[in-house]
Symmetry: C2
Subunit: 220 residues, 2 copies
DNA sequence: CGTAATGTTGAGCGCATTCAAGCCGGGTGG
DNA sequence: CCACCCGGCTTGAATGCGCTCAACATTACG
């Protein structure tokens, strides 16, 4: 994935991937408490990560798709602090972290790449905090949809159509809302002609209206 | 800060710090949009970091104190994506990121240390997401107080007494609450004999009750 | 000492939640 | 093929938590 490498360096990168691993839908790639050994690059499939509080409650911290890296949470304490659950059958590249550190000492571009991946995750979470801390239900869902469709588009999918791989409850957990609120908000969007929704199939009719909801009447 | 280094390695680490910089209360160490060059280790003082949405709203993403590192958000795009504001006169070590990357190629312990710092920030933010996504006002404030006092205690301060360096509004922004709600929740804690509050001076009378609020009636 | 910033408290409101009932679609087995 | 079931989803009604708006108190600071 990192750019600007020599052929020799690319060979090294190949060495980094110890194995590929298939994850069945509904099963976990890693769990809170498990020993941390590797980062995982998603080749295919779709994941959610979630943290749990002492009492039963849990919070979905993100949804990850092909090309994204998960497992960064495990570095600090040598143990994972969240669960990664496959929302559809998936395949990942297992990249032992020792190897990553070793190679990134030799290959500057890789070192830089690793740092950027971690920084990107920090910045992404800032955005989620902004969402959770200051947005109303409609803004949250609109932001969520725009983010999803943008990431899918970057992977060659439609700009206006998407299939949700997660339930209303999982969306709600991520957005800090109850599943009923997510459902109602979808319905309101449909009434207003912003989207069409048939179960998990979503078609965005009017992207501008969605953006307007996210960023209400930008005061120019 | 990193442990397990030889004397020679420690000298290298010293090289990492290009300069010290004093930040006056109320001014920014860096701002959203500014070019990223360095990470900053806080020597003394107290900071908040905040992100802003397109429209005016902003969200405090964290409060940082001595020994903590800020600026990680800037790595991914070579520009900062949040503001760091000093809540009291402060001094930081400026550590140019180029130097950090260079040195961490030579000193394994430093490399590992940098990775852990970034991972720790990711995990911290998971905790904030859990708070913002699933806790009620009392739980949020209790969690906040326990976290603050724990970090202060680790720095040699009291386990039960603290001085808030931020306003109710800043606490509210961090916790996803309005300042009035923060104030009211403080008052409720006082009524219940959990804490004493005199403006920004807080004394925790009953830590267990605070923990009980955070983790309601743990079902054993 | 006066002014502005910060904090507290009250009253009423509104958005999201809770609780509850019913619907839809996919899968299974008769 | 249809009947049935179950998980996921939708919708309604009532409740309540945190918000808004407002007045006032207190503190910090020039």
């Amino acid at each position: 994935m990192p750019m600007g490498l020599t052929a020799a360096e690319l060979d090294l990168i190949d060495d980094m991937v110890a194995a590929r691993r298939k994850i069945k839908r509904g099963t976990t790639l890693f769990r809170n408490g498990e020993k941390f050994t590797s980062l995982y690059a998603i080749r295919t499939g779709f994941f959610k990560t979630r943290v749990a509080s002492e009492d039963g409650r849990d919070q979905v911290t993100g949804f990850q798709m092909a090309g994204e890296v998960i497992g960064l949470d495990g570095i600090v304490n040598d143990h994972h602090t969240c669960d990664a659950v496959a929302l559809e059958d998936a395949e990942v590249c297992v990249m032992p972290f020792d190897r990553i550190e070793e190679l990134s000492r030799e290959v500057n571009a890789l070192q830089r790449h690793v740092h950027k991946i971690m920084s990107r995750e920090i910045v992404r979470e800032h955005g989620v905090m902004l969402l959770l801390g200051s947005m109303r239900a409609e803004e949250r869902l609109a932001t969520f949809l725009l983010n999803l469709v943008q990431r899918l588009h970057a992977r060659g999918f439609s700009q206006s159509e998407l299939v949700l791989r997660m339930t209303r409850e999982e969306i709600g957990s991520f957005l800090g809302l109850k599943l009923e609120t997510v459902s109602r908000t979808f319905s309101r969007f449909v009434e207003e002609g912003i989207v069409e929704v048939k179960q998990r199939h979503v078609r965005i009719i009017n992207t501008d209206m969605l953006k307007d909801i996210v960023n209400p009447k930008a005061c120019n």
